[in-house]
């Protein structure tokens, strides 16, 4: 198990390497640089700026310098738009709202998705099932940005219960969290329901019933515990969705997280910021997938990694 974990963790390094090379290469392969403005800057200014930031060097040298900075000094380089701040500062300022949003949405998705799926399966082909299925169908067919806009229209504009944007205290957290969690809730509910229906037919469930165990005990101790094992496998993709999906939600609700900068850096060709953001997102996804795999082995003792 320990060897497996170390190998899996080390595997993140080549992944990040390839991700960074692709990102770096793409951003340098195409016309348009960070100094492109509505009104073109004088050539001498551009040359001076390029020299200052080392952008006049060959691309591979720039790449090596950049990676060297991260590895040796944990320095992600300058942002080319927010000149007075380093990429590290920008990320450090924005990372907590983003993490908080992601974690809250994840918890909400689990706390609602799993019961929804269980209720659907226990009331198979009766109204709880139809209700659960209907909610999950609406959830998977509503993109998060649509859900966000609709939530704002209904709950802030019409009813006035929550503010339309911002990130200052619990009542500003509600709508963004629901908007981000909508899709994962449906995914988890669908998987849980299917998985619960599957275990209902198993021999050990019939045995448990025939032994005279109370129904609630069969459901909680035998069925749910087994049914959740396959559900864990989709937590990886769901976490990836939460990480990369959050920037759209952050933009709609003007949340001061790092997602906002991702979208901006793309448009402004702020290589430094964009590269750092892509690496952070890729690392987050790879790392969270690793955690999910460990969790998988933990809840299902039959799985042995070697």
């Amino acid at each position: 198990m320990a060897t497996y974990l170390i190998r899996r963790f080390l595997w993140i390094i080549p992944v990040l390497f390839v991700v960074s090379v692709i990102t770096f290469g793409l951003m340098h392969a195409v016309p348009g640089g960070p100094w492109a403005r509505e009104k073109a800057l004088p050539e001498a200014t551009v040359a001076r700026l390029n020299a200052k930031y080392g952008l006049d060097k060959p691309v591979h040298e720039q790449y090596i310098n950049w990676v060297g900075g991260i590895v040796t000094r944990f320095d992600f380089g300058p942002s080319y738009k927010y000149v007075e701040r380093s990429v590290g500062d920008i990320v450090a300022d924005g990372v907590w709202p983003t993490v908080q949003l992601g974690v809250m949405a994840f918890l909400l998705a689990i706390l609602i998705g799993i019961p929804l799926g269980v209720i659907g399966a226990l009331g198979h082909n009766r109204w709880p099932d139809y209700l659960s299925t209907a909610i999950s169908i609406v959830g998977i067919s509503t993109p998060s940005f649509v859900l966000a806009i609709l939530l704002v229209v209904v709950f802030s504009v019409t009813l006035g219960w929550f503010p339309t944007n911002g990130w200052k205290g619990p009542n500003t957290w509600v709508l963004p969290t629901i908007a981000l969690a909508g899709f994962p809730i449906s995914q988890i509910a669908r998987y849980t329901r299917a998985s619960m229906l599957e275990v209902t037919r198993r021999d050990y469930v019939r045995t448990a019933h025939s032994k005279g165990i109370r129904n609630t005990a069969v459901v909680t101790r035998h069925m749910i515990r087994n049914a959740l094992i396959p559900v864990v496998t989709i937590l990886g993709p769901i976490l990836a969705f939460l990480v990369t999906g959050s920037f759209i939600i952050e933009k709609i609700f003007s949340i001061p997280g790092i997602g906002k900068f991702y979208v901006q850096s793309i448009g402004q060709r702020d290589y430094g910021l964009l590269m750092a953001m892509t690496l952070i997102y890729a690392f987050a996804v790879a790392f969270l997938n690793l955690i999910v795999d460990i969790l998988y082995a933990y809840i299902d003792p039959r799985i042995r990694y070697s």
Partner: protein, 313 residues
Amino acid sequence: MATNSVSRAATLPKKAPMGPWREAFGRLARNRLAIVGLGIVGTLFVLAIIGPILAPFPYASQDIDAIRANGNQPLPVGSPDHLLGTDQLGRDLFSRLLDGAQISMTVAIVVQLVVLGIGVPVGAIAGWFGGRWDTYLMRVIDVIYAFPDLLLIILLSVAFRETFFGQALNGLFLVFFAIGLTSWVTVARLVRGQLLSLRETEFVEAARAIGVSDRKIILRHLIPNGLGPIIVAVTLGIPGAILSEATLAFIGVGIQPPRASWGSLIAEGQKYVRGDSHLVIFPAIAIALALIGFTFLGDGLRDALDPKLKGKQ
């Protein structure tokens, strides 16, 4: 291939038993949700094709007089001439939704063609030749799999936006390419897995033993037997592609104006959502219908083509 099977069928002495494909079709036809999905998908395709004829106005034409008369505000639903109203520039919402249908349905098909075009050869090479090819290709697949999809799609879209390639078809070409390039790994893995298991089956071994050529084994045994799961994966990949296209358009790096992707309609309508919510609601319903349609159809195909998987996701 087609003529070959027809002539073979003609020489068969008695009526062939009901084949697995006919059986699968029967199962699909009995699945109510799948039929609903098929209906939605079919309708959307018809609307996408006849859209330009059906649309009361060209998607980019502005009814400036009507907008002026309305105080430069979007026309509401049920206006004369504009059944679903217009946007703030006086463009007919219904006509723009039809253009969006065309974009989404083109994405649905073309992206999956790109996916098949890359995924099938890569998976087939890895699965059939095995060995070193397999190791290298699977490593590449692992890395692409680890790259968060949406990030790569956005990066590609932004990077090539200003190039000739990025401008082709109002940026639609780049959208196909970016989404296709990130989505083929699932199909490649599937094809590889199918080939690995089919290669070892007794009927393939038997065909080999009686000296059937590789080409014939692939055409007569591997493709028909391995096709089902691939059809299912491709169909279930379509909602993701449609969603990615809409997301790109929503954040403004996808298809370029004046074309009207459902995602860009929502982005534009967002500003007017307080007074003129129809500008967001109708495109949102369109996206939801497309996603539901393909999901139902994909689920139905999965249950029909692979009864072992029934009930699983």
